[in-house]
Symmetry: C2
Subunit: 508 residues, 2 copies
């Protein structure tokens, strides 16, 4: 185990915190029955964001470790498939309902979400980033000094994200070691793949006195305590991994940023932070760090730009910053719901992609008001249209491209593109079963030219809305149309079941 | 009854259509038990969009005709209220659940929705207005020549809008008289307040041969058939009213626009159409009508700008057009979901309001992908933030202002501001009961510093998500926070019941 003594001596308060580590002893290990998933599956091809790969009659075999052992297409008879793969002779079988309303889809990958802010979802008024932090965010996060508060709120957040098909989340937690460890425990217990980052923020200027790290060394040491804890519950980081998390430049001293860059290199762990979200924030960075030409140059100087870095937002990048990010292999978490809500700006995602930068999507709860990655996919398409209104048609992202960013793109952002984000042999079964409503109608027989007064309403079509999911399919739609209907009108009611690494972790 | 012979002789095809009128004989008349609605109600003050009027302990008495007879505040005991209003001694009582998760709110007023396009909701690809019409919209609308198609689709559309709390809708139908009459019948049968407009479109250039009016006279005559039908089922237009509906300038000859302007004046009926939605459309209007300086000047010359005119979109108005609209007293239906989806532009709603123009909201299904007025309210706030990104902070619309536009604003747009949109004595009870989720938690007793492995997850908080509505309340939120949570994360699951004119027309 690497040392948590990196960065200097351990203060008394840190030591006390080691005694309040949330739990110990549970090691992540799940063994499932081998399972064959039969029916329609849809995912993005690995290297083509412009179209969906739609397999109407497929069979996917998932072994006890949650790894996909085969993907068969054009399946007429399941028996023939099982003959070909004898290890699955006695496998469980999970089928999509026939009739064209159900399909398997990869689980969503939320590359940027603040778990402790979930209680505030939807509460942001007319604020923008910096006043939003002080008014809503810091007080809420500070309350996670209570482990009871953390337990209820984190449990709810993980349930809500799972219910919305988020199989992997890159979480920002709070500064509190016990609560952050508890979040890792909860993800492990609930079976959600997660990156869990203890929030690092030691700057005396921007952060409130009631909620910050005392020193850079304490911040690093406490981060190491969280790393140790996650290592103790999931030694190979199979499901839950630590992630080094400097909040953002205005919350951190240059000393802390540099030490966290060093920690990332020593541990080879991923890193996440924010960049270029808001004009006021960018101006503040310029004032706080006058020796650096830009936000990205500061991070670069601190050794934080690297392939395992996930940068949230990146709305107002200069060309020079884009080049630094691209050349370092850093990734970007695009958070369109948040960027609209906090009036931060419209990120130029097409430009980032054309520049060769890897982009995934993040809900950014609670700058973003919704835990739903489906809403984030929808918002990706819509916000790109607002960008297109000023920058031209090419900026538009299609439904297919937005879904790619929410699955394949996100997998690349968190460095798991060979494990999750699509259905391929050797990858793991992180998936959701999607179900839409086929509209039922009364049979009126031959074409009528008149209805009696009591017949004007089609009572079946009318009443079958009650309790139904939100997406209506009438039967004429192509699979592409059905997916578009899901993206634009769907919600958690359409996510009937969720699996992570082969384990069923949620069902309605 | 005014004549449907306005505008000239009736063609053979029109005559045939009179035989296929959907139904006759049912007259709208509903008598309810007197009812007292007790508990929390929230609405916008009549003339202040910036705040909500929140009454935690209220009682509203609604008489058998659906009219509000009293509004009492600070109610301690219902008996005292009933003593004061003896006509309600034996009234039914409907209460909001205590605990701060339920409230009565005015029903939404959708000032612009294309009912026949509902099956296409979410299917628009990357099109913009003019190619969207040809690719998706005209073919779908043409299929409403079948009354069976119309019956099922319109029934579903009315059910979905009611389920989302839309108590009043200004519907665009199709060119077909029987199907349009059937839509009016369905609204009447389902109890939804509606304006039902037969689509008028006689231009040989833009409209497809398979879907248009043959002549201006036929268009007017068929419109009159629909007016007659609605008059026959609802003589006083108590619930359902006709609305004169030229599709939009590029679909109509100047002859038709002028005749429909005359018809509006003769009948004193409302009118609805589109204006300045898309740059290509505006250019087309310029080419088709070179004698008129602008879109609004064309409508003005045809006598269509008047207080009862509802103009959809109005995104790209010139100053001159704004003045014409304002001076004529015409109203605007803002359709933000559609405007983002079809990349039409961001309407400058703050500017319109500051100019003194009346604005309401419309879903514009299926240019807009959602039948939900709540989503339209949300999108009003979000799109205003995108406008603010270029035009400055003042363009932002708050949650309160967006809700005002969806209720009080819409009521003014459809000319019913003295009947609906708020809870006042003399107005009618068009309302929805909203319910949010209070997050349940395990009781962990005193503050813990450690949890056993099997205790890390709060199973109550986790599992109570299942089947729950989408809006979580934790208990600390003000009513304003709760309303904001509803606006940003709510959906039809939060609309527990819906009343129109005192009649309960939907419940989950």
């Amino acid at each position: 185990m690497f040392s948590w003594r990196i960065g200097g001596s351990i203060s008394r308060s840190v030591y006390r915190r080691t005694l309040t580590m949330a739990t110990t002893g549970r090691k992540y290990r799940v063994v499932n029955n081998p399972t064959v998933y039969v029916g329609t599956f849809i995912h993005s091809p690995r290297d083509d964001a412009r179209r969906l790969d739609i397999c109407e009659a497929g069979a996917i075999g998932v072994n006890p470790d949650g790894v996909i052992e085969f993907v068969e297409r054009n399946v007429d008879a399941l028996d023939a498939v099982l003959d070909k793969h004898p290890a699955f002779k006695n496998a469980d079988v999970v089928r999509t309902q026939p009739g064209g309303t159900q399909f398997f889809f990869p689980g969503f990958i939320d590359t940027h979400i603040h778990a402790p802010q979930y209680p505030n979802a939807g509460v942001f008024g007319s604020t923008t980033l910096l006043d939003w932090l002080n008014k809503y965010t810091f007080p809420t996060e500070a309350s996670f000094s209570s482990l009871a508060v953390a337990r209820a709120n984190y449990s709810r957040c993980v349930a809500r994200t799972l219910a919305n098909g988020t199989t992997t989340a890159a979480y920002y937690a709070t500064i509190h070691v016990p609560a952050t460890n508890l979040l890792a425990d909860i993800c492990s217990a609930a079976g959600q793949r997660a990156f869990v980052g203890r929030m690092c923020m030691d700057h005396r200027g921007l952060n409130p006195d009631y909620y910050r790290d005392e020193t850079a060394d304490e911040s690093v040491a406490n981060t190491c305590l969280c790393i140790d804890h996650i290592k103790s519950i999931d030694p190979a980081y199979e499901l839950v991994s630590p992630i080094i998390t400097p909040r953002f430049a205005p919350s951190c001293t240059e000393e802390l940023l540099t030490k966290l860059g060093n920690l990332a290199r020593e541990t080879n762990l991923p890193v996440q932070t924010h960049i270029d979200e808001n004009h006021g924030e960018i101006q503040l960075v310029r004032e706080l760090f006058p020796d650096h030409g830009s936000y990205a140059e500061l991070y670069h100087a601190c050794g934080l730009l690297m392939p395992k870095m996930i940068l949230g937002h990146a709305i107002h990048l200069t060309d020079r910053e884009m080049e630094l990010i691209r050349d370092s292999g850093s990734k970007i978490a695009h958070c369109p719901v948040s960027n609209s809500a906090l009036t931060s700006g419209g990120a130029k995602v097409r430009w980032l992609l054309d520049c060769g930068i890897t982009v995934g999507l993040g809900t950014d709860v609670s700058g973003g008001f919704s835990v739903s990655m489906l809403e984030t996919v929808r918002s990706t398409a819509l916000v790109s249209r607002h960008v297109a209104m000023t920058d031209g048609e090419a900026a538009k992202l299609s439904v297919e491209e937005s879904l790619y960013l929410g699955t394949r793109g996100g997998a690349k952002v968190v460095g798991l593109e060979d494990k999750i984000g699509g259905f391929e042999v050797g990858m793991e079964w992180d998936a959701q079963l999607i179900g839409l409503e086929m509209v039922q109608k009364e049979d009126v027989g031959e074409e009528k030219v008149e209805f009696a007064a009591e017949e004007v309403l089609d009572a079946v079509a009318f009443d079958s809305c009650r309790g139904a999911g939100p997406v209506d399919v009438f039967g004429w739609e192509s699979w592409e149309d059905r997916v578009a209907k899901w993206v634009y009108n769907g919600d958690d009611r359409n996510t009937l079941a969720v699996w992570v690494k082969g384990q069923k972790v949620w069902s309605r």
